[in-house]
């Protein structure tokens, strides 16, 4: 049983890792506390639902179209809300509140059109796959493998491509980037698109496994943010490590206590980290408090 819980933890951890990475991509570079990111996670499945069940396209095409629309939504958020605020040099708290505003608006638009009850994409009983005494569904295996691929490709890009270098430069000092002639607003569009892509892919895959409702994004995002804090803000490897730690820890707390207390365990961990090591596991030491 223990191994099964570890395996479940890795599956959940891969979701947290990807969502956390997408969140970190924006938080580390622009310092926007992008709570509306939760919305993208649940927006993509609803788009898949529209194209797959509504228009009867095949699954792969509807997945692709839905991901493109979600990426577009992410860029629109930047265009309509964050960019004007950034040009006005508004404070970060204002960005945070605006982000809550976007989240409320989009969640309720979805709930208005699709209803707030749980919807499923895949009505068949999922096929399972057994290794030793660990049982996983094919959807879970594809979640883990696709997130691994995304993580590896992203980290390689970050290390070696021009885009990666620019991202790391923006993380270190975005004003200096501007002084050196980099168009940071163009760069921000790219970052928002990329983080939207991460969220859309994993959101779609998870919804294909377990279904979705309009409020499914927020708990995932909250866990992902905790993962980011635990991993450490700044380094892009940190949210990935944090995500897997949270995932496995939650699965183990289900094993040791019961599923009811897994959130409490996560937030207790958050408080402990905020108190004793606010820089997280990986980050270099600098004053945050």
């Amino acid at each position: 049983m223990f191994l099964q819980f570890i395996a479940n933890g890795i599956v959940i951890g891969s979701i947290y890792a990807i969502v956390s990475l997408g969140f970190a991509l924006i938080y580390n570079t622009t310092k926007i506390f992008h709570l509306a990111y939760a919305v993208l996670y649940m927006f993509c499945p609803y788009m898949i639902l529209t194209f797959f069940h509504g228009l009867g396209l095949n699954l792969f095409i509807s997945f692709t179209v839905a991901i493109i629309i979600t990426v577009f939504l992410s860029v629109i958020m930047e265009f309509l809300v964050y960019r004007p605020l950034a040009k006005k040099e508004s404070s970060l708290n204002i960005m945070l509140i605006s982000s809550i505003g976007i989240m409320i608006v989009v969640t309720n638009i979805i709930s208005l059109f699709y209803g707030s009850e749980t919807k499923i994409l895949n009505s068949e009983i999922s096929k399972t796959f057994t290794i030793g005494n660990i049982i996983l569904t094919y959807a879970q295996i594809s979640q883990v493998s696709i997130s691994m691929i995304l993580i590896v490709v992203f980290l390689l890009f970050l290390k070696f491509s021009r885009f990666g270098i620019m991202t790391r430069a923006m993380r270190d000092d975005d004003v200096l980037c501007q002084v050196l002639g980099m168009d940071i607003y163009k760069m921000r569009y790219v970052l928002f698109a990329l983080s939207g892509l991460f969220s859309a892919i994993i959101g779609g895959l998870v919804a294909y496994d377990v279904g979705m409702d309009p409020y499914v994004g927020m708990p995932i995002l909250v866990n992902a943010v905790v993962a980011l804090i635990i991993g450490g803000i700044g380094r892009f490897e940190a949210p990935i490590i944090g995500g897997f730690i949270i995932g496995i820890l939650q699965a183990l707390s289900v094993w040791a206590f019961s599923a009811r207390w897994q959130d409490a365990v996560t937030f207790l961990l958050l408080i402990i980290f905020l108190l004793f090591r606010p820089t997280g596991i990986l980050a270099e030491r600098k004053r945050l408090v």
């Binding site: 404070s91 409320i104 309720n108």
Partner: protein, 290 residues
């Protein structure tokens, strides 16, 4: 007529919530996403006072306010060491922990089933406060009292010191004020007063369950303050009236409840986005969020 009284009672409850949240957000520049937790704690403590300890209303109010303040002290001390986003996150974490505890500690809080049949409180054991008229009087008196106290507080040296924390923490430190203790005072006072709102809610509705005190409620309270305006007395009052009256107006227009609920949330969301962009101090506030 009862319907209008019901709305006025709700407005009174929300005035208490927003006015006390304003002490944190508008006066001290501490953005808290954990206000619903204290609202909930206040409600649950007052149920403890009314149903288990059989207190009358005034001791029950005091009991829940004091217990909630003590709880908030536990939370204030660790979270106030953090700044900006980290503080928001810590309060978010506490909000979720307290919600999880209220939801899952079934032997004490009855969890998701909620506590029903909360008895109507009595005043000095003589007068039973039941029925809408007596609650109208009670809530109006309490709301007026809270507004008066906060009016006095804002214009007291303590209030000015808090505004100092908000505007320039460093210069306040340099003239020798203890910024951390000021923040802790603001935090505990705010949660103590918010507990009065919780107590009022619990005894008025006579039924509480954890879902009334979740993260959405915390965001809602914060949104009400920010829409109304931060930093002065009239802002939060306008915010409370706005968030309570808007859904009723939508209902009067004839929208069915299923659409109306979503539509009013969309209106709140858009209002917040537009206000943050064009008028960050809210409708009637004096302080633009930093």
């Amino acid at each position: 007529m009862d319907y209008i009284f019901h709305i006025i009672i709700l407005i009174n409850i929300y005035i208490i919530l927003t006015t006390s949240t304003n002490l944190l957000v508008g006066m001290t520049n501490l953005l808290s996403l954990g206000q619903a937790a204290f609202y909930g704690l206040g409600a649950y403590f007052s149920v403890l006072a009314l149903m288990v300890l059989h207190l009358t209303i005034i001791p029950a109010l005091l009991f829940s306010a004091i217990c909630t303040s003590l709880m908030s002290l536990l939370i204030a001390y660790p979270s106030l060491r953090l700044k900006g986003d980290y503080f928001v996150l810590a309060t978010l974490g506490f909000q979720l922990i307290i919600y999880t505890i209220l939801y899952n500690w079934i032997s004490v809080t009855k969890g998701p089933f909620g506590i029903s049949g909360i008895p109507s409180p009595s005043l000095f054991g003589l007068l039973y406060i039941s029925g809408i008229y007596s609650f109208l009087v009670l809530s109006s008196v309490l709301a007026a009292m809270v507004i008066y106290i906060f009016y006095k507080l804002i214009h007291s040296p303590f209030g000015r010191a808090l505004k100092g924390v908000r505007d320039d923490e460093l210069s306040l430190l340099s003239i020798g004020r203890n910024v951390t203790s000021l923040k802790i005072w603001a935090f505990t006072l705010s949660s103590g007063f918010i507990a009065i709102g919780g107590c009022l809610y619990a005894s008025y509705v006579a039924y509480i369950d954890p879902t009334s005190f979740n993260l959405d409620e915390a965001i809602f309270i914060l949104a009400a303050v920010l829409i109304g305006g931060t930093g002065n007395i009239k802002g939060p009052i306008i915010g409370a009236v706005f968030v309570v009256v808007l859904p009723e107006l939508l209902r009067l227009v004839g929208l069915p409840d299923s659409i109306g609920a979503n539509l009013r949330q969309i209106i709140y969301g858009l209002t917040i986005i537009l206000l943050m962009r064009f008028r960050p101090q809210g409708i009637a506030g004096e302080y633009a969020l930093k």
